[in-house]
């Protein structure tokens, strides 16, 4: 072991060495921007310098051939630098306006859609799913690919009322975060316990503590220490599964997709908001999840038609009210839409403010 190389704890790398020179030069000195066309941002600095950023969609989970192809394009058209957005879109920064159109053409020719800026539907927040995670109820890469195929037209255009941020999560842990539209998993059956395994791989005190409704009790099963779940209490959240894989929660049939609407982290106009349940019980249907896609598209279509400029989904529903949202989207309203978790009282109508 003496020869082992100790790590260099260098932490977060300094970005300046990898940053486009125009950005370095005008660092902190930008004046304004506009969007000459979908997929292109035009930023002007106090110095008078101008840059055009061209944004293209990627599959996030990239093979190195794709990355090298993106590098080739960057070298030929993009001055040798790229920027990735938080949504896994790639951006090329150009100082020469005349290169914008050829770059776009090239990207499109190579199969990278140009768009995702402004009031478009940008790339979906991507997680791991069956490709890599140890607890997924569905896939991530496949869901995102299938959905982005369907939403491609809205990615390359800027025709929505405001930007649309979609997120997906492949289990109830929700690495995908809040979204204007969020597509998540809801388990509908309590975990089936594989008692033979519990003693070996389960951190029993941890799993008991992890259950948010105290539904798990230690128990002896076939003379061996195991666990039991009070099925009446269990809310099927799956929190017990990571510390105790024998708590089989994922089910090909009963782990369903659910759709949530109106999440928003920006402070623009209203304060940040959590997304809200609008549809559930949607089959987890690989490889293209058509049922979920249909609902997402229906919501987007209604929103596009009914919302005013600059209204995010949350703003729009706030104006028209939730009853009308269900009416326009033709989604059923059920008892499950009425919250009963902590803070649920805040979600009840404690007024006569009603739209008829």
């Amino acid at each position: 072991m003496a020869e082992m190389r100790p790590p260099i704890e260098s932490g977060v790398p300094d970005p300046f060495q990898y940053m486009h020179p125009a950005m370095r030069r005008n660092y902190g000195q930008w004046k304004w921007h506009d969007r000459p066309r979908p997929g292109v941002l035009h930023h002007v600095a106090e110095s008078g310098d101008e840059v055009w950023s061209v944004r293209a969609g990627t599959q996030r989970q990239m093979d190195l051939y794709t990355i090298r192809k993106l590098c080739d394009i960057g070298d030929a058209y993009g001055e040798g630098y790229v920027h990735f957005t938080i949504r896994s879109n790639i951006e090329y920064i150009l100082t020469d306006k005349n290169k914008v159109a050829p770059l776009i053409e090239k990207l499109q020719a190579e199969g990278f859609p140009v768009g995702g800026t402004g009031n478009s539907v940008t790339m979906i927040a991507h997680t791991q799913g069956w490709l890599h995670c140890d607890i997924p109820g569905t896939d991530a890469s496949g869901v995102v690919k299938a959905l982005m195929d369907e939403l491609h037209a809205e990615f390359v255009r800027e025709e929505m009322p405001n930007r649309v941020h979609i997120t997906t999560s492949c289990c109830q842990i929700n690495c995908g975060g809040q979204g204007d539209i969020a597509i998540n998993i809801q388990h509908t059956k309590p975990p089936k316990i594989n008692h033979d395994l519990v003693a070996n791989v389960c951190e029993r005190p941890t799993v008991v503590a992890r259950c948010p409704v105290a539904a798990i009790r230690p128990a002896m099963v076939n003379g061996k220490p195991s666990l039991e779940v009070d099925e009446k209490k269990c809310i099927c959240c799956g929190a017990c599964y990571p510390p105790c894989p024998p708590m089989q929660i994922n089910d090909p049939e009963h782990s369903k997709l659910s759709i949530w609407v109106g999440g928003k982290n920006s402070n623009a106009r209203g304060k940040p908001q959590f997304h809200k349940l609008v549809a559930a019980g949607i089959p987890n249907n690989p490889p293209r999840w058509p049922e979920a896609a249909a609902i997402v598209k229906k919501i987007l279509q209604v929103y596009k038609k009914d919302a005013k400029d600059w209204e995010r989904l949350a703003d729009w529903v706030e104006r028209i009210g939730w009853p009308r949202f269900f009416e326009l989207t033709e989604l059923p309203f059920t008892k499950f839409h009425i919250d009963n978790w902590r803070g649920a009282r805040e979600s009840l109508n404690a007024s006569t403010h009603i739209r008829f």
Binding site: Q172, N174, N184, Q186, T188, K189, P190, P212, V213, C234, I235, C236, C237, H254, K256, S258, G262, F274, H275, K276, L277, V278, A280, G281, R319, I320, G321, W322, P323, R324, F325, F326, P332, F333, T334, K335, F336, H337, I338, D339, N340, W341, R342, G343, A344, R345, E346, S347, L348, N349, A350, S351, T352, H353, I354, R355, F356
Partner: protein
């Protein structure tokens, strides 16, 4: 007379003085002499000296608030100082003749002190000895008046002046008040519920009866068609106040921004998004009015602080008509189901709002036989912590209702 130097300081000032009134009573009434003494004692020590007990009238289990003095040795004549809670006419209308009769009874049997009204709406005849309670009640009862509620019972209710003198009134509050409360007189007079249960009736969303926060069941008037707009009066209002005043004080205060002032000074109302808040109508009383298709919204569970904190009622009926006898019967049925469910499911000393908090709105709705509706919520579920295995059945129910 006892010396009352502290109380005397409450005789000055422009507001009518209850001390002056008490002193006037004390001239002819020894009970009031000692009552003043005990009150002065409270002011000096900053402590109260009453305790409860059991006092009632024949046939009823509640309606009298018994008060026995803890300092009776010092103030023997006010050793007993009970209150009769008497239900007022719906809307609190009185002829002077009636008031005089009431005074006469109270002069004969009680202290002569009356409160118009208690916070729950009772006329409170305050200050009577145990041995006189029955006689006083009998006289009031013969006059057509009945005891109100106390203890774990249906309580005395209040209704706003409504139809009697208010153009905003969307239903007949007095009638609903009487129809509903008089259905539950047994639950009022023989306290056997888990805890108190209050009704309140407001004719419109201005909620002059504070029902949303002070009633287990609040019945509030509203309308579902378009509001009535008299454009000529709108123009007159704009002319007298100026466009800017109207924009700043009417348009921008609309919670859903559904008003727009046209160039010709008429008003455009986006009735689809109007939430019937009343603001614009309150400001432009001559120009705007509730619509014609009127009815009520029902909310359940309002109350003050004990024991989980203040609660507002929750919408359980977004809209129902309240005109025909059948309408009234439907409301009575909802009230009956609510009280039955409450009686069976609430814990001791638990109000409806607390019960709903404990069991969840959905279980409560199922218990009283009402269907879920998006108007009952401000926004749908945020928490994913829920088991949804009945989704398809529930969705089917909704789709059927929509189709039907």
């Amino acid at each position: 007379m006892h010396d009352t130097p502290m109380l005397d300081q409450l005789e000055g000032g422009p507001w009518p003085s209850f001390i002056t009134g008490l002193k006037r009573l004390a001239k002819d009434n020894d009970m009031m002499v000692d009552l003043l003494g005990q009150l002065e004692h409270s002011y000096e020590t900053r402590k109260g000296f009453w305790k409860g007990g059991t006092v009632g009238v024949f046939g009823y289990g509640g309606g009298i608030i018994p008060r026995f003095s803890e300092v009776a040795s010092k103030f023997p004549d006010s050793a007993e100082f009970h209150t009769l809670r008497i239900q007022p006419p719906a809307g609190m209308h009185y002829s002077t003749d009636l008031l005089r009769q009431m005074c006469d009874v109270w002069e004969k049997h009680g202290s002569g002190l009356v409160a118009f009204h208690g916070q729950s709406g009772d006329i409170m005849f305050q200050g009577i000895r145990t041995d006189k309670v029955q006689a006083a009640f009998d006289e009031f009862n013969e006059m057509g008046f009945d005891l109100g509620g106390a203890g774990p019972a249906v309580r005395t209710s209040m209704s706003c002046i409504g139809h009697a003198r208010c153009e905003q009134s969307c239903y007949d509050t007095a009638r609903a008040h009487r129809d509903i409360v008089n259905t539950f007189l047994d639950d009022m007079h023989r306290p056997a519920l888990p805890y108190k249960f209050k009704f309140k009736f407001s004719g419109c969303p201005n909620d002059c009866m504070n029902s949303v926060q002070r009633a287990d069941m609040a019945v509030i008037g509203t309308w579902r068609d378009d509001m009535q707009v008299d454009q000529a009066e709108v123009k007159a209002f704009v002319a007298s106040k100026g466009r800017q005043y109207v924009v700043d004080n009417v348009l921008t205060r609309c919670p859903t921004k559904c008003l727009s002032l046209n160039d010709d000074n008429t008003l455009a109302v986006d009735n689809r998004n109007c939430v019937r808040c009343m603001h614009c109508i309150n400001v432009m009383t001559k120009a705007l009015k509730p619509g014609n298709d009127r009815g009520v919204t029902v909310l359940i569970g309002g109350k003050r602080t004990l024991k989980i904190g203040d609660l507002f009622g929750t919408v359980v009926v977004p809209f129902m008509k309240l005109e025909s006898q059948e309408d009234m019967d439907s409301l009575r049925e909802i009230a009956q189901n609510t009280i039955d469910f409450f009686a069976e499911n609430a814990l001791e000393h638990e109000r409806t709002g607390e019960m709903i908090d404990r069991i969840g709105l959905v279980n409560f709705l199922e218990g009283i036989g009402l269907e879920v509706d998006p108007h009952m919520i401000e926004y749908p579920r945020i928490s994913s912590y829920v088991r949804m295995d009945g989704w398809d059945e529930e969705a089917a129910k909704w789709n059927e209702r929509k189709a039907g």
